[in-house]
C-alpha cells in the first residue's frame, strides 16, 4: 500500500509527511515525531491513555488514523506549556495527589482541562462521569477528582 501525503498542525507547528494508511495518529506522534507524552494503553479506544486534542476536542489517538487527520489541528500534552487552565491543573494534580505512576496523567490532564472549560458548573458526580473514559490503576481517582474540583472551585471564585 502506497504512502499517502498528509499535512497537519501539531502544537502550532506545520508538519508534512507521507504515511502508510494503517499508521495510527498515536504511533505517528510517538514514533515519527518523538512526542512521547501521548501514551498507549489498550490500543482499542477503551483506556483513554492516548487522548489528545484533535481540532479542539479530546479524542483517542490510538484509533484515529494519521492519514484521516490530514488537515487537522493536533494538540498533545507537549503543546500546553502556556495554557492557563493546564497550568492550574498541573499544580492541582501535584497538590492533590492526582497521579502516582504518571502513565494515565497526560490524557487525564487533557480530559480534566476539557471538563474545566466545557463544564464550569460540574459537581463531583459529573466530574466522575466525565472521567469514566480514562482509566487510572494507581490513585483510585480520589486525588484526580479532588484536583479538578479544586481548579473549578478557584475559577468559580
Amino acid at each position: 500500500m502506497s504512502a499517502k501525503p498528509i499535512a497537519m498542525s501539531i502544537n502550532g507547528r506545520k508538519v508534512e509527511a507521507a504515511v502508510e494508511p494503517r499508521l495510527s495518529l498515536a504511533d505517528y506522534l510517538r514514533e515519527h515525531l518523538l512526542l512521547t507524552g501521548t501514551h498507549l494503553g489498550c490500543e482499542h479506544g477503551v483506556c483513554g491513555a492516548c487522548t489528545i486534542m484533535i481540532d479542539g476536542a479530546p479524542a483517542r489517538s490510538c484509533i484515529a488514523l494519521a492519514v484521516a487527520c490530514d488537515g487537522a489541528e493536533i494538540r498533545t500534552i507537549e503543546g500546553f506549556d502556556d495554557d492557563p487552565a493546564m497550568a492550574e491543573l498541573r499544580l492541582a494534580f501535584g497538590e492533590c495527589h492526582g497521579l502516582q505512576c504518571g502513565y494515565c496523567t497526560p490524557a487525564m490532564l487533557i480530559v480534566a482541562r476539557d471538563i474545566v472549560l466545557r463544564l464550569p458548573e460540574a459537581d463531583e458526580a459529573r466530574i466522575r462521569v466525565e472521567l469514566s473514559g480514562n482509566l487510572c490503576r494507581c490513585t483510585g481517582y480520589v486525588g484526580i477528582v479532588k484536583a479538578i474540583r479544586q481548579v473549578l472551585d478557584k475559577r468559580r471564585g
Binding site: S2, H44, G45, A59, A64, L65, A68, D114, S132, N134
Partner: protein, 270 residues
C-alpha cells in the same frame, strides 16, 4: 495491536465514494468517525483492502428540518447532538441519549450513521431511533432509498445496507408538543456497552406509543401500539411474556435486566 495493511481513499463527494465501493475486486469498508471500526482494525477483527473515508462528505454532514422530519447526516457526531449543535426534533431525547454514549473523547469522533451501520445490538442509536420511528436514507448507484429502522436493523451487526451503498442520513419525525419520551440503559460501568436498553416514545398526535428494547443479541424488539405497557402500575410479568413472545432470548437474568430497563424508561416518560 496494530492494524493490518489497507489502502485509504477520501473521496470529495458521495458519487465518488459510491464508485469506490462499487469496485467488486476489493473488500472496502466505509470509515466515518472510526470509533468502532478503529478498534476492530487494531484487533484485526476486520481486514479490509480499502477504507473509504466519508466523514467530510457534505451530504453526510447536513442537519436540517424538512416536511416534519429532521434529516441528520450520517457523519453527525454524537457530541454535536449532545451539545445541541444540530436542530432538536425529539424534545431533547436524542441529545440525552447522545450524552450517554461511551465517553466524550469517543463522542467527539463517533457518528450516528457509523453506529447504525455497525449495528451493534448494545449501542444506543438503533434502539433510540427505532422507538422514534426514524428511517435510514441510503445512497446507492441507483439513487436513494428510505428504509424504516425495523427493516434496516436486520440482526446483530447486520443491516440491510448492501456492500455498494452508503448510509447517507437518518430521517427523524419531529415529535409533537404533547409527545413524551423515556430512555434507560443498564450498564455495569458508565459508558460501557449496555446489557439492556429500553426507549419509549409516546406521541398522541402521531403514532401513539412505541417501545423499543435493545441490547438483545439481535435487532431491537419494536412494539407498536404499546399503550397497554405504559399503564400504571407497571406489569413486569406481562412485559416479560411480551418480550419472550417477541423473541428475547437469554436466561432469567437477561430477562430481568431488560424488563427493568423497560420499567425505568417508562417511569422516566416526560
Amino acid at each position: 495491536m496494530k492494524a493490518a495493511r489497507f489502502d485509504y481513499e477520501r473521496p470529495a463527494n458521495l458519487d465518488a465514494a459510491l464508485a469506490l465501493l462499487g469496485n467488486e475486486g476489493a473488500f472496502a469498508k466505509v470509515l466515518a468517525g472510526g470509533q468502532s471500526l478503529g478498534p476492530m482494525l487494531n484487533l484485526r477483527l476486520v481486514r479490509p483492502d480499502l477504507l473509504v473515508d466519508v466523514r467530510r462528505i457534505p451530504e453526510l454532514t447536513q442537519a436540517a428540518t424538512h416536511d416534519g422530519a429532521l434529516i441528520l447526516g450520517a457523519a453527525t457526531t454524537h457530541a454535536a447532538i449532545e451539545d445541541g449543535r444540530v436542530p432538536d426534533a425529539t424534545r431533547g431525547m436524542m441529545a440525552a441519549v447522545a450524552s450517554g454514549i461511551a465517553y466524550r473523547p469517543v463522542r467527539n469522533r463517533g457518528t450516528i450513521g457509523g453506529s447504525l451501520a455497525h449495528a451493534d445490538p448494545a449501542a444506543d442509536w438503533p434502539t433510540c431511533l427505532a422507538a422514534l420511528g426514524a428511517e435510514a436514507l441510503i445512497a446507492g448507484a441507483r439513487g436513494q432509498r428510505a428504509v424504516p429502522m425495523r427493516e434496516f436493523l436486520a440482526s446483530a451487526f447486520e443491516t440491510s445496507l448492501r456492500a455498494d451503498e452508503i448510509l447517507e442520513a437518518v430521517r427523524v419525525p419531529v415529535l409533537s408538543a404533547r409527545a413524551r419520551w423515556g430512555f434507560y440503559k443498564v450498564c455495569r460501568k458508565t459508558g460501557e456497552f449496555a446489557q439492556g436498553i429500553a426507549a419509549v416514545v409516546d406521541d398522541p398526535e402521531r403514532a401513539g406509543a412505541r417501545v423499543a428494547v435493545g441490547a438483545t443479541g439481535s435487532a431491537p424488539i419494536i412494539i407498536e401500539d404499546a399503550g397497554a405497557l405504559l399503564r400504571r402500575p407497571f406489569d413486569a410479568g406481562a412485559a416479560a411474556r411480551l418480550l419472550r413472545e417477541r423473541g428475547l432470548g437469554g436466561d432469567e437474568i437477561d430477562m430481568q435486566i431488560h424488563v427493568a430497563a423497560l420499567k425505568r424508561a417508562i417511569l422516566r416518560l416526560h
